[in-house]
Symmetry: C2
Subunit: 353 residues, 2 copies
């Protein structure tokens, strides 16, 4: 595949931190600006070996157990949208970050930042959704906190969850472990969460209603691990979408990735919405999908196990890892050309999770 | 001590939830309104045996380890104040919640909610303080998240940390374990954090500068446990102050508590500030103090160990647990009278941590 390898000599890092003396929306977008803030500001301040690995969840030893530990803040607007709400996201997002280490999620913490004047009925609706999502994901909320900020600050309800889970012995899933020859599998159709948020926020309709795909993925991951513990890398393509997730693994593993654009499952309504709005579905957020890098020898059996699981019914092989163009992701387009799929700078849609 | 037992028959619960259809500042104050929101709204939505225990940190089993797990959001304004800043608080607050279970804190998560337009130099200052505090408390930040909210929302920087630690075998420290006869010890002078925040926020001075007491307490707790694993209950008197902390343990354990008001260490500057402002030091927040309920047989040795530790140099016995007036806290005043020290409704100073 040497013919499609781009020449990356002389590429420069986009938008160094010094060009942005203030926080911009893109710093929270999960793309290049987020990565830069983390690398140039947070890691020098309090980084260490584990944080520096920049995984969806940290793998740590405690006592005789190997744990996954993860956190996310949720600042989505609006609080409720077709298919879910901030309560579901706050559970599923953190559960999925744990699952991306192969961990079985067990316990969540939940911290609310409430804006003075928010209807208690709204807080109650968020809390009930959070409880239902926790039960569905088989995790228990064991500790929490509530702060109230003055009216005009905050934004109704912000939720931050952290989660811990147990990593089974023999499982070592990390973005650094992808290898040339690995098959890239996505667990289902992409782009639904981002488009669902956008449609309700902007009052747009695209024929059929697009609903968020928010769902826990821990059961799906355990079903995959039942086929083989030798899954190399997993990532849930949230902010930054599939493009960011695949790029992060390609960079961490120093492998090239070739995606087959025509094989990436995009629902018709998402495709229509993206065409109308000038968005690329590869960059739109998902909240119930994962992308897996699996050794070729296990790919077929893993795909079969995914399709047999409710959270992976739409699983599809979308590409492979190659020796050429290390750390660069390219897509073979439907028309037979190739294009580079790079890390987004910020994000296309702000505050989607 | 029957003569000082109040008659609590016919007391009514202040301000039931239905009288507050919207979030008010007091819901985040760590007093009765906070407790009510938790009991009537959060626990029915996603409570369980562990969360319902309402400890500073949850004790959970994972693999073969017994862990403490805790979270807090920090929304303090201003971000920096005499003696510390939001970065120190975000580490020490969560470390201390873990320590109140007797755990040795090990790992932290750290999630930022940044307001668009915030100076990156401010974010950097917070991050560096957070890193320094983590090193001082001997914990490692292993996972994190950053979200950005539109200018006009948020408030510069909100930080949510969660922490995990290992609870040593044989240690069982819970607010339910206080017993009549237990000695109540506070680890040092109270009220400094709340008054430091207030002074900088309102531009007040009270003779000498009052500095926040923010500090990690895990080393102090381990020094106490080296004397005896049989510490009954610990609490760090943050929001709601010493009054809320002692009330929570009295309620959970169904014991009466008699405090000796004259024995409670209050720095002169704090006393002056409280007198000027009409505040009661017993209700002012601390961020580097703990209150301990210790069996009388161990009290003297524990006190000695506390005084020998840098974080407990000002430790003092301030009261005892009694059979009379279960769940009620009374103070013997300096003038020889008694007064009820009840749970505050909201808090005297908003957004102090």
């Amino acid at each position: 595949m040497t013919d499609i390898a781009p020449d990356t000599t002389g590429w420069s890092c986009p938008a160094p931190l010094r060009d942005h003396p203030v926080v911009v929306m893109g710093h929270g977008g999960g793309g290049a600006l987020s990565a830069e803030l983390t690398r140039h500001l947070f890691l020098p301040a309090y980084g260490g070996e584990t944080l520096d690995a920049l995984m969806d969840s940290a793998a740590v030893e405690l006592g005789s157990s190997r744990l996954a530990f993860s956190t996310d803040s949720y600042v989505v607007r609006p609080l409720f949208f077709p298919g879910g709400g901030i309560g579901d996201l706050a559970v599923n997002g953190t559960v999925n970050d744990l699952a991306m280490s192969g961990a079985v999620p067990r316990y969540l913490s939940c911290a609310f930042i409430l804006e003075e004047g928010t209807e208690l009925s709204t807080v109650g609706r968020v809390a009930r959704a959070l409880g239902a999502a926790a039960r569905a994901a088989d995790v228990t909320v064991v500790t929490g906190d509530t702060k109230v900020v003055d009216s005009g600050h905050g934004d109704g309800v912000y939720v931050t969850t952290a989660g811990i889970g147990l990593i089974p012995r023999g499982v070592d899933i990390r973005p650094q472990r992808a290898l040339p020859g690995d098959v890239v599998i996505v667990s289902g159709p992409i782009g639904q969460h981002g488009i669902a948020i956008l449609s309700v926020r902007e009052g747009l309709t695209f024929g059929t209603e697009v609903r968020s795909d928010t769902a826990p993925l821990s059961g799906l991951v355990q079903a995959m691990l039942a086929v083989t513990p030798d899954i190399h890398a997993l990532r849930d393509p949230t902010r930054g979408g599939l493009a960011a997730a695949v790029n992060e693994i390609a960079t961490a593993s120093e492998v090239g990735v070739v995606l087959d654009e025509g094989a990436v499952p995009v629902p018709d309504a998402v495709a229509t919405a993206c065409a109308l709005l000038g968005l690329d579905p590869m960059y739109v957020a998902n909240e119930g999908r994962l992308v897996a890098f699996v050794p070729r020898s296990h790919a077929e059996a893993v795909l079969e196990a995914m399709r047999a699981h409710p959270a992976g019914g739409g699983a599809a092989v979308i590409g492979e890892c190659v020796v050429d163009h290390p750390a660069v992701v390219v897509a073979r387009t439907v028309l037979g050309g190739t294009r580079i799929v790079d890390l987004p700078l910020g994000e296309q849609l702000p505050r989607i999770c």
